[in-house]
Structures are given as structure tokens and as C-alpha cells.
Symmetry: none
Subunit: 199 residues, 4 copies
DNA sequence: TTCTAACCGAGACGGTACGTCCTGTCTTAGC
DNA sequence: GCTAAGACAGGACGTACCGTCTCGGTTAGAA
């Protein structure tokens, strides 16, 4: 066997077709949803050959994940986690931002697709987690640790669990659509969680 | 009305084929996973005609949901939520039971399928929520209300939020596979939550 | 094996449904053609159960053949072959009658169906031949024999061949739709054939 | 125009699969007959995808017709109609050749299929007539015309009718299987017909 | 007159094939 | 050597009918 898995020369890759494909994928995602999204339709809409897609992405979900990444990069919302010294206020800001994302179709749609895809493709799940979830978790834990050092949290509080106490409820409500997600709700969670871990 | 959608006569439905189909669906789910599950394979394994499936279920996910339901009914785990008067102990029992389910492939697999499917089929999601999630939420809320009346919870605690504070974190950890789910973890959550809502 | 092929009791047969089925078959033949004709559609149109058809007829072609028979019986055109003594005139009458039938959709359609069906079902072909073709051939041969005895045909003429010289050409033109079939054409054939066999 | 019917690029057609499909069709025709012949079985036997068949042929009968054509081309029997000057002898040769074909399963089968198919699909009938029947008719007419010029036929003989007087009887006997088709019979027809049209 | 066996309409059933759609690979021409 | 285009083998889709079966309801002799 002579080099069965030929790997293409990335330096000669057409940037034009890459963007056309990812844009087409995003558009079709919005129009027909992930389940009815086909490689063929993406290629047709992008004016690209199917082979060009298969050459650069292994699966449909990889294309979609890349499309989401492109979409997210476009946004200029890489807000750093605030640290004003007032933990309560900082958490409120962040939890309200998450609530806003839950209500923004621009995030809601892609996020649901990624959750769904991750359930039957663990590798994809790991990648997506790495790219989208862990940064937020890490930043939150950082801020909590800073608050802990400042004596605003019990010294023995398990920060991994505290992060989950913050993200878990809002995530649960969003994922199962059990109730609307408001700023008031975001504040409520912060209240309960801080009540639990205050020294 | 042109009477387009002829509806079959449910009274003449073959119980034998219904069970064969749902059993085949469960088995194939376990063997190849939801994504590679085909109606054709279910019919073949069940010794049924495809039409018999299409006659009684609108989509693949409906078959699978029904299969899960049959599977769940078979189990004799319809444990009533305990109410010993000791809220702390009762919650621990329940949260540990949930932790056990997260680690039991018999529940883990189907549950992930349902979560995934629900994300791109809201109607399916609503049905699944109704059948599997709400009963647990309602029972938990009931127990919390009872505890609240007994003065073990703050009178102004929002029980919907408290339920989410309990279920959200464990659910989050399970869904994103961020860490193992142990009895100790279950206990931890109960501790934090009760600390937050104790009078 | 105990009487595997249960034969139904013909005396209890419902005349009403028999006629409804054959009528429906005739109508559907005219509407959609033999190839697209289905037992299911016949049953639905006739307001009969499928089993009632399968009980009394072995195949679709048997139903259709019966329908044609019913149709033919309805007609009162069982014209006896004329024998005026003038063979030329008598043959013209008969050949013109055949030409008329070729141009009459009432005969053309069914006849084509029977020809077609007979090609891939020899038994059906034998039955159809017996019922529809042989009577005409026999009557014609009879008339030719009478003419032969009267000295209007060569004594050594092979009547089977003469019949085919009469029927073959018109049949050929009809079957292959190579040219219109007129009375003039019918006369022409009689002219040529009589020229060939005149003493 | 919405460009509904995308037409494939014939220049890129796979010759290999075309032949495999037509060969498979021929074989299956011989094995199970036209009625039980399925596109699916042809594709399976040919190792081709069903779409490849549907891409290049509109119907089952079109595939079969093409298969016959390929079969006929393979044969090296494109005998030119003889013209020795002796019309009687030449016609005998041709009529005997036709008789032989009637008795040769290689021709009998396909021809019956085409006759049958032509009866409920006039377009197919037209194509088949063009490809298989008209060449023979034309050649025969040509030879007759040559004989007519040589004074062996009456000057006023209608050659279209004379051709039908030759082909019709043998065709009739073959189609309805009313009697065996022998060389003697072929000769007999030539005798009668020439008797009718001799000057 | 009641019983009972068969027919009847209806339609669910296990199947087969349909014609369409999409997958992932391969081939061709163009730049 | 990447690209657009699209033919190819393969396989699942959801539909239409096949011929068999089972279900009540009706009908017509036999008891």
C-alpha cells in the first residue's frame, strides 16, 4: 500500500471555496436544520464540487463545527470575564450574558446542533467541549478562585461544583425548554449559589 | 376535506408485531447506535413489513421513543419519591439514584438519544419531556414543598429553581462528560443546595 | 395435506359483487390501461373486498378476460357469417366488419390487451384464442369450403392458408399500426386473395 | 423553465456498466420472463446502481429494447435481401428465413415481448417498429419493386399490400400459435401471393 | 326458528419492487 | 494538483400493491 491516506496540500487550498462552503453550511443549517442538511446541497449552494468538501472535512459535523467557529470568530464578543472585586455583580453580568445567548438564535441553533451531535459522536463532543465550553468554565473558575482568595467564598468550596451550580440550572432550563430564561432568573441563580457558598 | 390522511384502525393492531418492532429497535439501538439505525433494519429484524412501521409511527424517533417507554415500563423501578420527614436524607437517596442512572448504560444510551433528538425536533422533545423528565421534576417539587411546609426550607424559596439547582449540575456533568458522577458528588450537590435554601 | 385448495361454493356467489368487479375492471382498463390496473383499485371501485376477487379469479388477466366476455355478451353482434352464394361479396362484408372492429375502441383496446397478455401467458392465450379467435376462423373456413364446393375456389386450395391470407394482412396492419384500416383496404385484400385461389 | 429534467452528460457514460446492464437484462429476460423482470434485479446482476439505469433509460421496456438491439447487432445475420432476378426463389429464401426466426427462441422470446409491450405503450411500439419491422418491410418492398420493373408483378400491384400478404399470414400463425411454421408453409404463402399478383 | 357455515366488505399483515435521494469514491476537463 | 462537475456503486427512503390473513356483519340452507 503506497500512502493510502493521501493528505492534500493545505497550502494550495482555495480560500474562496472554503468560505463559500462554510457560509453555505451555515445558511442551510438555518433553513432546513442539521438533520436535513446534505453535503450535496452544501456543495451545490457553494458552487463547489463534493470532492472539495470530502477532501478537507471528514464528516458533515466537522463542516458544521467549522462553520460555527467561523461564525463565532466573526462576532467581536470575546468579552473577558470581569473582575471588579464585586463577585456578586460580576457573576450577574456573566450569567445574564449567558441568558442572552440562550435567547439569541445565532447561538441557540448552533449550540443545540453541537449538543445533539456530541451525544452520538463522543470525539466530536470532546472537540466541541474543548472549543466552546471549557474556556467559559475555566474563566468562571478563575474568577471564583479570585473571590475565594478575597474571602467572599468559603475556603472549602469546591469550585468545580460551584461552576456547575451556576451553569447547570440555566443550561438545564435551556436544553429542556422548561421555562423562559430571563435576567431575573440569572440573578436568582447567582443569589442561591452565593447563599450556599458564602463563608 | 379530501380525507388525505387515512388513519388505521387501532383496534385491529397486531400486538405481536408491535412488540417485535420495539424490541428490534432497542436491540439495534444498542448495536449500531441511533444514527445508523434504519427503519429497514428494524423491519427486517422484527420480521415485519416496513409499512407496518410507517402505519403506526410517523418517524424513526417516534419508534425509538416508544421502545424506550416499553423498556422503562418493563423495569420495576417506579420508585416513589421517599418522604421520611428527613429532607436531607430523602434528597440524597434520589440524587444518588440519578447518579446511578447516569452510570447505567441502560439509561445513559437512550437518554442521550432522546436529548439529541429533542434538539432538532421540538415536538419530539416535548413528548419526551412529558414522559420522562416532568414526572421526576414534579415528584421532586412535591417533596420540596412538603419540606417547605415542615419549615426545612425557606418559605420564599422558588421550588422550580431549587429543582433546577439539584438536577442542573448533575445533568450538566453527565451531558458534557466533564467529570465522573459519584455518590459523593450527589451528596455534595444536596449539601450546597440545602445550604442555599435553609431558613 | 387436507384439501389445501379450498374451492368456494359457487352457488352462494354474490352476483352483485361479480358484476361490480367486472364493471370496475372494464372502466379502469379504459381509464388507466392494463399495465396500471391493480386489483386493489378494482376492489375499491367495486366496493368489494380484495379477497372476493382473489376467491373467484386466479389472476388479474382472468378478471379482465371475464370483463371482456361480459362486455362482448352485452353486445348483440353475434352476426352469422353470410352465405349469399356470392363468395366475393360475402368476404367483403366480413372483412369490412373486421376493419370496423379494428377502428372501434370498444374492441381495439381489449383485443390489444389480450394479444399482449397472451404473449407472456400461453395458457391465457389458449383460452382467449378459443373464445375469440377460433370462432371467426372456423366460420370463415366454413364459408370458404362452401365456396370451394361451388367451384368458386380452386379445389386444391388449402383453406387454413386462405383464412390466414385474409386475416393475416389486416391483423398485421392493425397490430403494428403501420397504416389506416379502411373498407377499401378490406376490399383490396379480398381481391388479391380471390385472385390467388380462383380456379 | 425551471430546468426540471436535468439531462446527463452522455460523453461521460460508462460503457462498461451499459453493457453489463444490457447483458444482465437479456439473461434475466431468458430466466424469468419480461413480467417478472425487475430493475432491481438487473442492477444487482450487473453490479450497477439502480440510479445508473434510471439515468439512461426511462422505463424497463426501454432497457429491454436496447438489450434486444445489442443482441441483434451482435448477430452477423444482417443478410441483404437477395436479388438474383428470380423473384420467386428470392421470396422463398426470405420467407423461409422468417419461418426459421419464428422457430428460434432467440428471436421468438424477444419478439413476443416487444409485441406485447407495444400494445400498451404506443411510443415503445413506434420505436420498436422503426428498429425491427420497417427495415424488413422496406427491403421486401424494394425487392418487389425491382420485380415489378422486371415485369414479374402486375404493374398496378399495391406493394404495401403485397408485403402484408406475405408477412401477415406467417405473422398471424406465429402470434396466435395456431399451427406449426414450416418451410413448406413459407413456400405456400409465396405461391399464393405470387399467383395473386402475377401479370 | 335457530344454528352454523360460507360469503362479504374492510383492511392489517409480511413482503417485494418501485423511483428518488444521498453517500463517499472516482473520472474528466479546466485553470 | 487543486478545482467544479458529475457519473458511479451502494443503500435507505417512504409509497404502492401483492396475495394472505383475520375481523365482524350478513345471508342462506340444515337442524
Amino acid at each position: 500500500m503506497t500512502e493510502a491516506t493521501r493528505k492534500p496540500d493545505a497550502s494550495r487550498r482555495s480560500q474562496r471555496s472554503r468560505e463559500a462552503i462554510l457560509t453555505a453550511a451555515m445558511e442551510l443549517m438555518a433553513e432546513v436544520g442539521y438533520a436535513k442538511l446534505t453535503i450535496e446541497a452544501i456543495a451545490a449552494r457553494a458552487g463547489a464540487g463534493k470532492q472539495t468538501i470530502y477532501r478537507w472535512w471528514p464528516t458533515k459535523s466537522a463542516v458544521v463545527l467549522d462553520a460555527f467557529r467561523l461564525n463565532a470568530e466573526t462576532q467581536e464578543d470575546e468579552v473577558d470575564f470581569p473582575d471588579t472585586g464585586d463577585l456578586d455583580a460580576d457573576l450577574r453580568i456573566v450569567m445574564r450574558a449567558i441568558a442572552d445567548e440562550c435567547n439569541n438564535p445565532r447561538y441557540d441553533g448552533p449550540a443545540r446542533v453541537m449538543i445533539a451531535e456530541a451525544q452520538h459522536d463522543p470525539e466530536f463532543g470532546a472537540e466541541a467541549r474543548e472549543a466552546f465550553l471549557l474556556p467559559a468554565i475555566t474563566a468562571t473558575k478563575e474568577r471564583l478562585r479570585s473571590g475565594q482568595r478575597a474571602g467572599q467564598l468559603r475556603a472549602d468550596a469546591d469550585l468545580d461544583v460551584v461552576v456547575e451550580l451556576l451553569f447547570g440550572p440555566i443550561h438545564h432550563r435551556w436544553l429542556h425548554s422548561t421555562a423562559p430564561i430571563t435576567h431575573a432568573y440569572a440573578d436568582q441563580i447567582v443569589d442561591y449559589v452565593l447563599a450556599a457558598v458564602r463563608p
